[in-house]
Symmetry: C2
Subunit: 372 residues, 2 copies
């Protein structure tokens, strides 16, 4: 099948350069990430042979314009150079294009499987245009978005949903025998999926979600099905937490650290589990402050609890199976994607990270690029 747009004569590209956000210098201290990045322009594909008609796309390549960007705590981790050998992923180098998962629209293609207008997800980074070699589609982690799928919804069911899936079911080993689960940042990307799977799939009796505003608490109860939602900024949070966990805490799903971690350990049940998946409160700090008190730690011992650190990449061989299961639950109406779409210009991209760390959004925070 020959596509008109794939014909060599149609492949004159106006796009020979792309704007990119690169890591300029490792950020220091709280939320001071505005100076960490620099907007530059680079040749899109310096080795592409030029013709008088413009640049031709070589065989098996696709040119995309990125339109949606995923904002993830892991991005913040990768630019933290305090202890480069103590990261779960490789540290980025200064000068690298900032890493990010994005969805792009195919604007030119010399590969028969990709047509102009297709939406494709990949590890495109903060680049406005990307020229992708489909021979290395694994490196780019390319996935075509199914037709009629909202790109932001698709993003909400991406890596963060897989993190929820493996964290809850494999690391947390959740079953219906667990009476109580506490989920931190339960209105956010990972927590909203954990909450829904815990309640609607596993069937845990008491699902307690934690968030930082009344609006988020509303979402946790109304849209994620949690039995109880707690605002950690409440002056009575400690007492409310105790009242919400009369049978203690079988599983605590932690992406934040902070008071929720401390209280969950203080009330951990016998043989309880902590899925230690993130510490978003800490990424910007020096780290010398207290994470866990002696009282909380002693409970790990006495209650024979287990704390397990976890990053989703260790399950990558099982991603296809998990993705299939998650989308099945979506079709069955058991879980649904939650997202906040922030519309911005490409030159505003780093502000998405600031928003992410502030944590005022609901569900997955997706940056949608405004095209004039």
């Amino acid at each position: 099948m020959t596509e008109p747009s794939l014909h060599p004569s149609a492949q004159k590209s106006r796009h020979t350069v792309s704007r990119q956000w690169i890591l300029h210098q490792y950020p220091q201290r709280s939320h001071s990430i505005s100076g960490a990045f620099k907007l530059i322009e680079r040749p899109l594909h310096p080795s592409t042979p030029s013709t008088p008609q413009g640049t031709c796309i070589p065989a098996n390549k696709i040119l995309l314009r990125t339109l949606w960007f995923s904002n993830d705590p892991a991005q913040r981790t990768r630019i933290n150079n305090a202890s480069p050998d103590r990261l779960c992923t490789d540290l980025m180098r200064e000068g690298d294009v900032m890493s990010a998962t994005a969805i792009g629209e195919v604007i030119e293609s010399s590969h028969p499987e990709y047509r102009k207008g297709d939406l494709v997800r990949g590890a495109f980074g903060w680049s406005e245009y990307v020229l992708v070699d489909t021979d290395s589609s694994r490196d780019w982690q390319l996935v075509k978005i199914p037709p009629k799928t909202n790109p932001a919804d698709f993003m909400a069911m991406g890596g963060t949903a897989l993190t929820a899936y493996f964290g809850l079911l494999s690391v947390g080993a959740a079953t219906s025998a667990d009476k109580t689960i506490v989920v931190s940042a339960a209105a956010a990307a990972i927590g909203s999926i954990v909450t829904q799977i815990a309640k609607n799939v596993v069937g845990i009796k008491r699902v307690v979600g934690i968030a930082g505003s009344e609006a988020q608490c509303e979402v946790i109860k109304e849209r994620c099905g949690a039995d109880i939602a707690l605002n950690y900024k409440s002056p009575n949070f400690r007492r409310e937490f105790e009242e919400a966990t009369p049978e203690y805490v079988d599983i605590y799903f932690d992406v934040t650290g902070g008071e929720a971690l401390e209280l969950s350990l203080r009330r951990i049940a016998r043989n309880g589990r902590v899925v230690a998946c993130g510490a978003i409160f800490r990424y910007d700090s020096g780290g010398e402050e207290m994470a866990v008190s002696a009282k909380a730690w002693t409970n790990i011992i006495f209650m024979k609890a287990r704390v397990e650190g976890f990053t989703v990449s260790e399950f990558k061989d099982r991603f296809p199976e998990a993705r299939e299961q998650v989308f099945r639950w979506v079709r069955q109406g058991k879980i649904h994607p939650l997202k906040t779409v922030w519309r911005a210009k490409f030159e505003e991209l780093p502000q998405g990270m600031v928003k992410l760390l502030k944590g005022e959004h609901v569900g997955k925070l997706v940056t949608e690029i405004i095209t004039e």
Copy 2:
């Protein structure tokens, strides 16, 4: 076989009462345990029929005089009433005889398997004399000490050795592939056995023991075979810890909490394990102080580490197998018991707990009763 001493005419007992240390009131704050106990005298066996010749021992009973007492951190735990439902064992009640493992000498017996002069280990508590019903020997956890065995050595290879065994091999899952293990309180009862099994049985390349004095450090290296011994009171402890763990920490065996825990987490290896077995530093405190910093906690996540709380009782079905293995290693010269024998009068017994918590001893701290 009839033993002369078992003949009814020989069973006149002079022992109708026993001195006992009971829990008088739950201790508060640091080392203030002197007022927690009260020395009383109670009828040894009120239901024994009396004769003009004295008290006869009923059938299948043995009368013991306790001569060696084991001092264990778990004893301190059982009298901590701050959070009674948050203990790994039952909380003792005020008025109860203080629980303890002890070795007693049989002074009278109406059971053919126990003869006068036999040494028997059991859960005798802080009683000077005990009248044991052999029908409930499981409750008493009776074990006859083999002939020619030093009672203090036998005690050193008791519950604390089993804790070392299961903690290191089952919870810690130690293998020769682990490059580095750090052992806290490595000169003490549990740590000295962990250190020896890690080095002489498992064959871990770098065994780092931690203690609180130069004398203890000497013991860790010379008698337990550790490659490196560190004094946590050294002004350069942090730097010394780093230098001692160039390949990070695969396993940290924790019975203390404190700085050793913090540094072990800061230097935990990928997929490292923390065997959370005790927090002796904390038993006397309110527990509000820091156990783990944010920096250390974040490493649990990034390094995919596992922290597992553990008390040896969960392995009780496997005690016989473990005991056999441990004594086999002793006979093979791979490990040997370490102990400190404190000679004291029965009325000084509670001071053993103070000594234990001070931690200046080496190996198992055994109280040997001075008999005039």
